[in-house]
Symmetry: C2
Subunit: 79 residues, 2 copies
Amino acid sequence: MSNEVRLLRFLAQDMTQAELGKRVGLTRQTIAAIEQGRYSPSLDVAFRIAHLFGKRVDEVFHWQPGGAEGNVAANSDAG
Amino acid sequence: MSNEVRLLRFLAQDMTQAELGKRVGLTRQTIAAIEQGRYSPSLDVAFRIAHLFGKRVDEVFHWQPGGAEGNVAANSDAG
DNA sequence: ACGTAATGTCAAACAAAGCTGACATAATGT
DNA sequence: ACATTATGTCAGCTTTGTTTGACATTACGT
């Protein structure tokens, strides 16, 4: 799961990790870890970050299906 | 943080909690807890559920800013 | 050379997510 | 009456997100 947090932070007048953390209620270490993809944040944190930058969650965090999940909604006329 | 998981599950041919759990890699207890909003899932889980139903994360999970966050993107010409 | 700001990183602790196993209830089919 | 299925819920446990505190590096200003 990659993300655009670092880029968005630079675009927002070079906001620092500490500043971003303060605005969304996280520590700078947590921001750094998220930017590096060391773990994926909680949904709540993802919403707070996306909201701050005026983006949708899926615009900030890029997820790709990891295996053989399948997608129920595409099944109305399969074949 | 409310969500549409239960509704989407019914729309998907009355899929059970256990079946949904199996498809997204969670237990039925966890699905029940998420539906009831007892806690918000991880971002990864949110993506898996949304993807299964062919929706975006923000279409399935409804988040509302909880306090005095502010939004950096709306600040280009603030007054 | 010195101080300061921004970042990387680590270990220990804590909080919340998620699992396992169990028991209970309501609805269905036989 | 009995078994089965779907759901709610709880206690205890493991895993992972997050914090706190610390130390190191790089870049910038003086």
